[in-house]
Symmetry: C2
Subunit: 447 residues, 2 copies
């Protein structure tokens, strides 16, 4: 395979030096990893098609990889695969300022897409902490959510065109960007969220939203998680332009502040801190302050409207993943819970995790406004699945989702039957066989 | 088949009386029709699954039919099929006022879904003239667009859950309504817009939007179509809450007014009339009036804020389809055109149609704000495909879509290769074979 690829694409496109390959073999959490045959870095859709063709004829399994910021092991090898890095698919980002759309190669970072949109007077509202490493192709392949789903939905909502090489080897391209275009099945939407199992995404066209005139962020202290759920729900109904409602707990805040030597914002540190972000017309800060004045039982608050001040208020929330990772490979659960059950399920999870092992520790943070919490358990062996069984069963029993935005990958695959019926999984398999009949794309992920 | 279905579902569920069957055999335009074996009206997903099972074992092709308001022959037989009417799938509509979602059986009308949402303090923003006949299942199966796509997108954007019987006979159900739920391929989005070729949709869950505090509608007279494109584009950029920008021409307006004895609104009748609708916070009428005051070259205008006044201004636009239908079965083209090419393509289409036959007549109206025009040609034999060839080729050459919102159905199937590459069509076929391996669902539609 290596020789064939080198002959076809050029020797410099195929990495086999262990030092260069190693960073591609282990995921960001450190929990998922495996040895790769090589890393290939095609520069165009034609080169991607050549790689897929070589893999089909040689029966080599292929793992598409973007910025390797995934958290469920969906972008790293299990062992023996070829890694197709999209990092060299760097066309664009090209903004159409009239249509309000951006066209970009799969390897462009999310941050670069956001910056291009902003420079053209628009905004790409999907945002997450890994923005400067995550590729736009990866965010589409995983239907990324992030901080602003409350107002702007997930990635799929913004996807208006896509180019990909399917597992069949066929190049499909529909990048014209017509919003009204009912001419067949929604292939872009199907590939979005398919985690590299149906095709390798090579370019995407995304709809932008108008840039807000003003943005304001508040941190408010609260007594408990139930209060955070209630305040976030009221804010959703009554604060126009609410874009984020994020929650962190006192132990996580303390960990982040110690890890990164950050100052205390609300003093004394409240049990629960809720972050609210509002964007829209001028006066966003006033609207946010007026809302806070109407809420009883606040344990302190802080509001910022300038960019630096807003970033400072976001910092503790955004550094949760990096800080927790330093404690060793965590077991990560990215779940949606119905608002009415959220507090009770977290309490039950805490109790179950605490009973597993004296060193096991639960960290809770996330997008409380849409019920999507990131539950992290540290202090357990990466191979120990007891917490996975317990947590995901509690979530499924409560009518929640076992993967809100991270995807199934390898990490949640054994628990997919908690979320999907045998009939649904059979339909997934039939679609997989239709578009990847040789099963070369990301085998072992999702299905 | 008839006897087996009567035994399984009850005799009253299977219609064979020609008088009862006939309305199901011909589409709304009169251009598409064929004799059916029978019409079956299941009352539950289990009964739909029984019908699909019987069709699979007997090799009987099945045409799912909602309100039979489609315009491309996708919901009526070609000849010899069993029609599965969804009219008796009437669960709900049930609004979850906290989540802002509605759950409804496929046979509930779009109008009933809208009314239930409104009664609960929310709004379902997909809207079209056939609202009181079109079923919600049909609008999902065809990814309906309509009057408010400018602000709210197409049906797929609102779809958060779906239940269906696939061509394999499997019942798939994912109706929980979790907005963040990355647990596998997007089956609801795939079935949305698949025109009954992959599964029979039996129930849907849809996201609602907040009800606006105020809505205002304006009619403005303009000199030509190019002016309407320009004013609509400016309004999109500068008028917050712009939800519709519709256009009608003087000849169409005159036809509608004569057909339904409606009064003249703008006098003298301008060559082009643009309808603008704004919704949002109080003062919508003032914002619309302020915008109109900034536009040069208006040939009269009228604004209405109350429900009856708004409906009166919409009337001429909404009655275009019924009025044109009375002239005989029209050739209908539902196309998206890039804004910069819209005027030139319409001029070219007018010239080509005029050259085909002295009795051929072009009618132009539609959603100019998103480039989606409805071009209708009357005075040609329904079987005469010369206009179809000419119009759709002009649209495709201009980078437009040959079906913006009506779908491919039977009417546009020969021209699908103008819109989609052989690789895309092969992928559609592979998906079709995966989910409907016996090819019993709506054969001849789309593919």
């Amino acid at each position: 395979v290596i020789e064939v690829l080198r002959a076809a694409l050029g020797a410099d496109r195929v990495l086999t030096d262990p030092e260069l390959v190693a960073p591609h073999e282990t995921d960001w959490t450190g929990r998922w990893n495996g040895p790769a045959v090589a890393v290939v870095r095609p520069r165009s859709v034609e080169e991607v098609a050549e790689v897929v063709a070589v893999c089909r004829t040689t029966g080599t399994p292929l793992v598409p990889q973007g910025g390797n910021t995934g958290l469920v092991g969906g972008g790293v090898p299990r062992g023996g695969e070829l890694i197709l890095s999209t990092a060299a698919l760097l066309s664009g980002p090209e903004v159409d300022p009239v249509a309000g759309q951006v066209l970009a190669g799969a390897g462009v970072t999310l941050g670069a897409v956001q910056a291009a949109a902003t420079a053209a007077g628009w905004r790409y509202p999907i945002d997450l902490g890994a923005r400067d490493s995550a590729t736009i192709g990866g965010t589409v392949a995983t239907n990324a959510g992030g901080n602003h789903v409350l107002a702007h939905g997930m990635t799929r909502r913004h996807l208006v065109g896509l180019e990909a090489v399917l597992g069949t080897g066929a190049v499909v391209s529909h990048l014209g960007g017509l919003v009204k275009d009912n001419t067949g099945y929604d292939l872009p939407g199907l590939l979005c969220g398919s985690e590299g199992t149906l095709g390798v995404i090579t370019a995407v066209r995304l709809a932008l939203v108008p840039a807000p005139e003003a943005t304001a962020v508040a941190l408010v202290g609260l007594d408990d998680l139930a209060a955070a759920v209630a305040v976030a729900a009221t804010a959703r109904r009554t604060v126009p332009g609410l874009e984020a409602a994020e929650v962190v707990l006192a132990d996580g805040s303390a960990l982040v502040r110690e890890t990164f030597a950050l100052p205390v914002v609300l003093e004394p540190e409240p049990p629960v801190t809720l972050l609210l972000e509002v964007a829209g017309t001028l006066g966003a800060g006033d609207r946010l302050a007026a809302f806070l004045a109407s809420v009883d039982g606040l344990r302190g608050s802080a509001v910022a409207e300038d960019r630096a001040g807003r970033a400072a208020l976001w910092r503790v929330r955004e550094e949760h993943n990096p800080a927790i990772n330093r404690l060793g490979p965590p077991h990560k659960y990215d779940v949606t819970l119905p608002a009415a059950r959220l507090d009770a399920v977290v309490t039950a999870v805490r109790s179950r995790v605490g009973g597993l092992d004296p060193s096991a520790r639960l960290w809770v943070f996330g997008h409380v406004g849409d019920g999507n919490l990131h539950l992290n358990v540290t202090g357990l062996d990466p191979a120990d699945e007891r917490a996975d069984d317990a947590v995901l069963a509690l979530v499924a029993e409560a009518g929640g989702s076992i993967s809100a935005e991270h995807g199934i990958g390898v990490a949640k695959r054994p628990w997919l039957p908690l979320a999907r019926s045998p009939e649904e999984i059979a339909a997934f398999r039939a679609i997989k066989e239709a578009l990847d009949p040789d099963g070369i794309l990301n085998p072992g992920v999702l299905l």
